[in-house]
Structure formats: C-alpha cells, structure tokens
Symmetry: C2
Subunit: 509 residues, 2 copies
Amino acid sequence: MSTNKGAGGAGGGGKKKKEVKKETKLGMAYKKDDNFGEWYSEVVVNSEMIEYYDISGCYILRPWAMEIWELLKEFFDAEIKKLKLKPYYFPLFVTENVLQKEKDHIEGFAPEVAWVTKSGKSDLEAPIAIRPTSETVMYPYFSKWIRSHRDLPLKCNQWCNVVRWEFSNPTPFIRSREFLWQEGHTVFANKEEADEEVLQILELYRRIYEEFLAVPVSKGRKSEMEKFAGGLYTTSVEAFIPNTGRGIQGATSHCLGQNFAKMFDITFENEKGERSMVWQNSWAYTTRSIGVMVMTHGDDKGLVLPPKVAPVQVIIIPVPFKDADTTAIKGACESAVYTLNQAGIRADLDARENYSPGWKYSQWEMKGVPLRIEIGPKDLANKQVRIVRRDNGTKVDIPSTDLVEQVRLLLNVIQVNLFETAKQKRDACIAPISTWDEFTAALNDKKLILAPWCDEEEVEKDVKARTKGELGAAKTLCTPFDQPDLPSGTVCFASGKAATKWSFWGRSY
Amino acid sequence: MSTNKGAGGAGGGGKKKKEVKKETKLGMAYKKDDNFGEWYSEVVVNSEMIEYYDISGCYILRPWAMEIWELLKEFFDAEIKKLKLKPYYFPLFVTENVLQKEKDHIEGFAPEVAWVTKSGKSDLEAPIAIRPTSETVMYPYFSKWIRSHRDLPLKCNQWCNVVRWEFSNPTPFIRSREFLWQEGHTVFANKEEADEEVLQILELYRRIYEEFLAVPVSKGRKSEMEKFAGGLYTTSVEAFIPNTGRGIQGATSHCLGQNFAKMFDITFENEKGERSMVWQNSWAYTTRSIGVMVMTHGDDKGLVLPPKVAPVQVIIIPVPFKDADTTAIKGACESAVYTLNQAGIRADLDARENYSPGWKYSQWEMKGVPLRIEIGPKDLANKQVRIVRRDNGTKVDIPSTDLVEQVRLLLNVIQVNLFETAKQKRDACIAPISTWDEFTAALNDKKLILAPWCDEEEVEKDVKARTKGELGAAKTLCTPFDQPDLPSGTVCFASGKAATKWSFWGRSY
C-alpha cells in the first residue's frame, strides 16, 4: 500500500507503481504520438466506455460513455424545446419504394442500407430497409399533416438509433454501423425562416463541442460535393485531430430547400389562399462527438474528461497509512463526497479495500476524472485535502472548509484549460497556403489547410484524384464562416482560376 | 363564435356545435361501448398520439404520445438510478449463433425475429437478427465483465427500440412490430438479492400504472406456461379492459435464475475463492402502457388523460364576446398561463383566431386535457375564471386570486377520481368462480375470472384447448400476490384436483 507522501506522484513511487500495474494490467500499452489508432482503441476500451461486439462495426456503449451522452442530451434537448421542437418517434423501417423517392438522396445512402428480408422462417413480401436517416420515413406524413400556413412551422425531433452498413475502417464512436443520434426535421413557410434555424442549430452544435466537450470547431458551409445527399446546402461544425492530421465532421445542419417537398408533395395554403411549397431543414449530431472528445484530450495515461461532461468530476480516495485512524479517514472522505454532492458536484468515493491507493489513482486517471482528492492522516491532522488535477497533474493542498469553492473553481479552470490547449494545438496546425506545392507539402505535414479556392466542383474532384493514396484523398472540410481577407486577384491553389473564398482542405475521418 | 354563456356546455349550444363539428370532422364516429376496436383506433389517431404508417404493425408516435412517454421515463429512470442501475446501449443486432444459445428462449422468440440478410446490393455472409429483447445480446459480455464477487451486482438498463415481427392483430401501442421500452438486466451473487429486486422493480411498475396512468393493476406471478421464455419465474402487473373483457399484461419483472448463466458461462469467484454461478433478472415496460391508459379512461368524446402524465394539464381558451375587450381577455389568459407555468403546472393557451371557442373545447376534449379554463368578458368583470373538468364535465367559477391553489387541487382530485373510477369498474368485473360452468359463463360475460386452480401446466393447456374460439382461448393472467382465503378441500375449477391457489383467468391482449 502506498503512502500519502509517496502517492503524491501518479500512483505511488516508481518501482512500486510498475509492480502494481504489471500485476493488474492497468497501464496503457500504446502512446498517443506513436500509434494513434491503437492508442485510441485502448483508451476507449480501458476507460470502460466501449466494449467491442461480435459483429464488426457494432460497439457496446458502457455507462462511462452513456452518461456523457445523457449529459449532452439533457443540454441539447432542453435547448431545442425552447425552440419549440416536439418529440416524435418514427419507425425504424422504411419501404423500398419510399426510400427511393428522392433520387440524389438514395444514391447517397443506397450502398450502406441494411435490408430486412425475413421474419422467423418466412420471406417478407418485399425487402424493408432499416433507416440510415429518416427524411423518407417522415416526409410522406408531413405532406399529410400540413395543409395551411397555420400548420407551419412543423418542428420534429427524435432521439434514436440509425444504421449505415459501412465497410471501411469501423472505429468506436467515429464510424460504426449503428449509432445513436438526434435528428431534427423542420418545415417552414419560407426560406428565411429555414436559413435562420440552420444557424441557430449550428450554434447549439458549436456549444456542445466547445462548451461541453471542450473541442474547438469551425463553423462553415460544405462544398457541393460534400453536402447532404438531396439537400440544398449543408453547414457543419468541423473539428481537427492534430495527431492524424485529419478533419472530422462534428455535426451537420442542412437546409434541404424544396427538393424533398417536391418529391413528397409537401405544400400548404398560404395567407393569400394559394398553394405554396414548404422549405425544410434537417440536422443531427451523433455519439461520434464523444469519440472526437476522446481523441482531442486523451493522453498516455488514458482518457481526459472535460468537467462539464465527466460522469464523475471528483474521485475521492482514502489514503490510510499503517497505524493511522482509518475510520476517521473514511469518515472525512464520506463527508467530502456528501458536501460536494450537496453542492451539485458529481463526486464519488473509491473505498475499495482490495486495491492500493496507487492502483486507484491509475485507474481513475485512465478513466479521465478531472479531479482526484486524496485524504490521508496528515490531511486529517491539518484539516485539509490534497487535490490533484488530471489535465496537468498539479497538486494543491486546500483547507477542508474551502472544499466546495476550490473544487468548483478548479473544475472551471480545467474546462477552460482543456479548450484553450486544444485550440492552441488546432490553431498551430492551420496552414494558409496559396499554391499546389504548398498544398501537398502541408498535406504531408498533417496540416489543416486553408486555401483560396474557385469553388468549382470539378476542381474538388480533380484535387481528390490527384491526392489519392494509402491515407485517403484530400477534400474540402468546409468553407469557414469566419473568412480571412481575400485580396482581389487571389487565385485558386488548384485551378489557377480566380478564388472566391478560403476553404479548409485536408484528409478526413 | 359561441358566447361565454353558451360555451358553458361542452362546445357551445347544441345545434351550433354540431355544425362546427360537421364542418371540421372533429367528432368521434364510434362509441366506446358499441365498437371498442374502432373507437380505440379513432381515439389514438384523432387525439394526435398516433399516425398509421405504411408498414403494417408500425406506428408513428406523435408528440402527444411521446411527451407522455418522456414523463414516464423521467420518473422511472430516476427511480432505477436510486437503485444504482447504470445506462448502457447494446447493439440492435445479434448473430444467429448467439441468439440461439438458450434453447427455451429462442423457441419463444424465433417466429417473431426479423432478419437482415443484405446491405446495399450485397448479401451478408450470415443473416443477422434484430433484437426482440437483449438477453442474448448482453450476456456474453456479462460473462467477460464479471470475475469476482466484487463485480456484483451488475446493473444495466437501456432505453431502446425492439422488433417482434408479429402477425396477429397489430394495434397501436398494444401490439406493434417495433416498440420502445426500457430493459433492465441485473446480475447478483445469490437468489435472495435477485428475488428482492424482482419485487422492487414490480413495485415501480405498479406505480407507473396506478400513480401515473391511474390504471389499477394486480401484482402477481405468471404460470409456467406464461412465464418468460428461458426464465425461472415471471412476475407482472396485470390490467383489465372491461369493455372487451380482456386482461392485459402491463409490465414484467423476471427472475431468470441461473439458466442464462449456465448457457453464457457467467460465473464469479465468491468470497471463499470458489467459482459460483450468478443469478439474473430482466425486466421491462413498454409504450404499451400508454395504450392501456387510453383504453381505460377514454370516453365518447375522446382521450381522457390523468393529470400526472398529461402533456398539457390546463388549456386556457379566451371566449371573446362581440364588442368585448378582446385585448383584456387575451391579457387575462396570458397572465393565467404565466401564473400556472410559474407554479410548475403545464398550462397552455389556445389563442388561434380561426377556430371558435366551441371547436377548441371539442378539440381539447378529444386530446383529453384534464382542465379547461375559459375566460370571457363576464369572468374578466368578476375577476374570476371558469374551470371545466374533462373527467366529469363539471364546471366551477373561481376567483382569479385562487387560480394556482384551485387548479392544483382539481388536478389532484381528477388523478384520484380517474383511478378510483377505473378501480371500481375493474373490481366490478372480478368474478370469483369455483366450477367449470361458472367459469365459461363468466368468460362469456367478459369477467376477470378468479378461480381456484391446481397449478398444473397440463390443466392450463386443457383449459386453453376447451375454450378455443373466435375470441381467443382463455388462459391464466397471473396468480395475484394478494390471495383470498383458500379453504382446505377447495378443488380446481378445471381438473377437480386439490386447488393450491387462486389465479386470474381470462382472454387477454
């Protein structure tokens, strides 16, 4: 058993710690900078977020992941209810006929659709698809429900599972065959209202990433090639993983325009008594968000959780010395948990007697808990507790009377620090370029490339073709709303034509 | 537009009301006592709970249903979290091999399992099942996670969709091919703890039905024939629908014993260092609960919602007279909504100008809102509001200053009244019988039959066979925990052997 003093380091003194780790297989085998892919798998499994399942591309979400999902959902659901979104649940299944109604849409999703063809031992009359997304599930009924301008806006949201039977590189949270999401589907009388909502929702997505997950994102618009299949335009929040040099789409808010309205005949009688076609949006964020957070903050000790989404914000660990008053130490720990819980802080006690304090330190570091509190005989005598930060390992002894105040302060500091650190790392990767040579150099250098572009679809196709390779081709990530100055005469890095905007380019997940 | 006085009745004066209804097709075409099946379909559709979907047996749950589901979920999820249940999400899919591991279990579910055999245009290597329930999805991993007695109890819950591709009589909420539920799966070191939890959960289910949905239920144990496929014993809460004379299983809490533990090799090292087999439970309630509530309380005007689960508890309708101060009336209505909302009461304003007050009365009656508040010029002058109860139509004028207090009181009274009324109706259907002739007479008379039984499986099979017919065979519903006295010498109504218990018998959903 390690001592209070010795336990000041992360898991007791060097040698002792190694023994404990070896004994329990608690350490990480991979380093984030050496083998990012294996490191990621190890973190999500060892932190008990994920269990691999016996069907490839399907994963078990354990409480350490689901509790984060519930915290995000609590925030987002309350926000969209303020925007008058109503909860719905539409079926998992859709007929082939309806699924194929919007041509671009089905072209985008067809290769990934899972089909049910049998029940029990009988063949179904016709195959039935499992929703890859619910536009075609919902919109025939929107057509039925909407008659007059008084039925607008119609605002539906559902929390559900969707299935996209992808075959490339399944990765927990990031790319899985079934995932959880919310999908909002809204209908308006005019484009202005639709446009406005697209951005309201995008701002909520930014808040999920930046305020909750402490992950910096760029808001922007997708290119024509990358927009939602069948939609008018797509906005997104885009994150970036410096270790792999890949962009990752965080969430999307689409304006569908009137394409689906045409196909599904969704019209209304306007105030002048004329039939008019509606304007529609759809938008979603998924459990992928958790994976982006893991990739952004995790380190060689495991997960690092932003306090706002940590299922346990403070873990309290008794450090009973030999001959110390263990009852008093346990009492002080229980009192600290109680005091913090009463103050609305998610604190928990690790009172397990079959593990050493050092082992517990390692385990809770692996699980990414923002603050550890250690209470030993010396702390008891001095009416203090020792607080250790997960994000940077710093330790501080604080008087027990200041517990709530200091913990609250530190949790806020960690939340800000994680975001600022991630933002600095991300910003350091942004490479503004102007020529093709600079572009390929930056791509090889794992940069988040900001390039002047002519915004022509053919040029994006061409860039994709020219950068094809083992690591995947480069493509546009988004055209950020926050545009640097574009002096007249600036040319497209790829085509040499006049550039019309700055866009982010890179490889992506 | 109807007047304040005329509007005292449900929807204005007789003639006027009929005209409005005809014009808007708002009335109910069927009566509960005349054609229960059509009445039920009409209520769930017209109240905007359900939309029929183009795949048979699948239904769209609209906000008026989903908001009830969310209220039930909020209660239940908080309660099971107090019992230390943790949120999980396991995959929708399960391989054929694993699904078939527990023989009795798969025999019970096989005919209803939906199979995915294709993705995109490719055939899958092997068909994959969609979960009809998640025992076989979860338990291989329980085996992996549980090593020592310290890993117990393990307590998992997930909120999700499941699919049972039934072919008999699809009915919204009651019998659908996809439904929403929670499924709890727990693992204990011994039978005592498992037994105890079975009843803790059953009590929560009773509370959902009796305290929230105001539906009286009987707690009891299922017969061997009716228990969960593969389990040790099943407890349930059973409701009864007097109109059809059918019992309906409200929710089930199963002790699985050690059957699944054997098949999936779920063992632990106990405190003595020996390998021991775990004890397991599983338990679930579904969106069916909403259907039972609709059937129990609905009337010829539509839905009747218990206040505790009503998405809108109080609807406030301005009744502007000709020449009246409509601005002042609207202001009084808005003030009432605000005051009630501030007090935590779910109140809403129907300010639509294109509908008459009478039409609105009918629509909100159709939707089952517990209280209607009318505010017209006379109410304004007298500083009062008129409150109309949905459950019994009574009206009362109360001073505006007493608004919150009176509304709160009335909502409580309605909640109690709905339960007591339903309980009286249900109790009046209970027919204690002792002979076969009494049994068949009571069955024809749509009774909830309480019969002394020998508790032999062969006898239940025999009763089923002898009562087969168009309406379906009779079977045991449950053996209620609350047992009447069973004098020695009492014989089984069906076999003439010694009776060992009183059981509920009847047709069922």
